[in-house]
Amino acid sequence: MAGHVFHPGHSELHGITVVVETNGPLTYVGRYDSEDERGVHMLNVGVHDSTAEGSRDEYVSRSAKFGIRTVHQHLVVPADQVVRITRLGSMM
């Protein structure tokens, strides 16, 4: 659905569940809210730490199948750490 805006008046990803990959060991899965100079604002967010847990791919697959184990209701991923943002629904 290219070009489709899920929530009119917001960015294309607003309200969409996404995987945010960073340039560090942390990967975030949660609902994209907005983006500003501070970074990517997310809601209901699960976190994977590749230094402490199993593989990132396994975590993302499990999140896609069983949903997100929320550990932060709202957080901001600093802009300079964000490498890639992907829809979780496209990774199933």
Binding site: M1, G15, P25, G39, G67, L75, G89
Partner: protein, 155 residues
């Protein structure tokens, strides 16, 4: 390791009942039974036999606004769950919390749908499987699941 800043969220409060009334009506019109308390959830799901779909309704106009019509379309299929029940996230807080206890390791999201067979979740549609998709596409997933888990070939 630098942790991102965490912003505390206010306690969740139920939405204005007048706002959600049309969303409730949309569900009951397609034959879903509303469950508004933990006791009603227990009575419906607690000793459930056969096939059931639990729809976790939501005020999100863009996700639930497609999920409800998707379910209505799917319920026209030749194979459908014997029972369809619904709880309303952000509205019937106690009922939603209790319903989610029956979903096992499936994490909360709304809107979402759980297909149960004899009380066990056999298929789950999360919010991220609804977002940005048409009612027809979501309905196609549902009817495939109905065939697979509730079809005549299923013992």
């Amino acid at each position: 390791m630098c942790s991102p800043p965490i912003i505390k969220r206010k306690q969740q409060m139920p939405y204005n009942p007048a706002l959600v009334a049309p969303m409730r009506t949309e569900m009951t019109r397609m034959g879903a039974k509303e469950l508004t308390s933990a006791a009603e959830v227990d009575a419906a799901i607690g000793d459930q036999k056969g096939s059931m779909l639990v729809f976790v309704n939501s005020v999100c106009g863009c996700a639930a606004g497609n999920a409800r019509p998707a379910l209505a379309l799917a319920l026209r299929h030749s194979v459908v769950p014997q029972q369809v029940v619904t709880v309303f996230a952000g509205q019937d807080l106690e009922a939603v919390a209790r319903a989610r206890q029956y979903f096992g390791e499936y994490q909360p999201s709304s809107p979402s749908m759980a297909l149960l067979r004899d009380g066990e979740v056999v298929y789950f549609v999360h919010r991220h499987q609804i977002e940005g998709r048409s009612p027809q596409a979501i309905a196609a997933d549902l009817t495939a699941a109905f065939d697979r888990f509730f079809g005549a070939a299923v013992a």
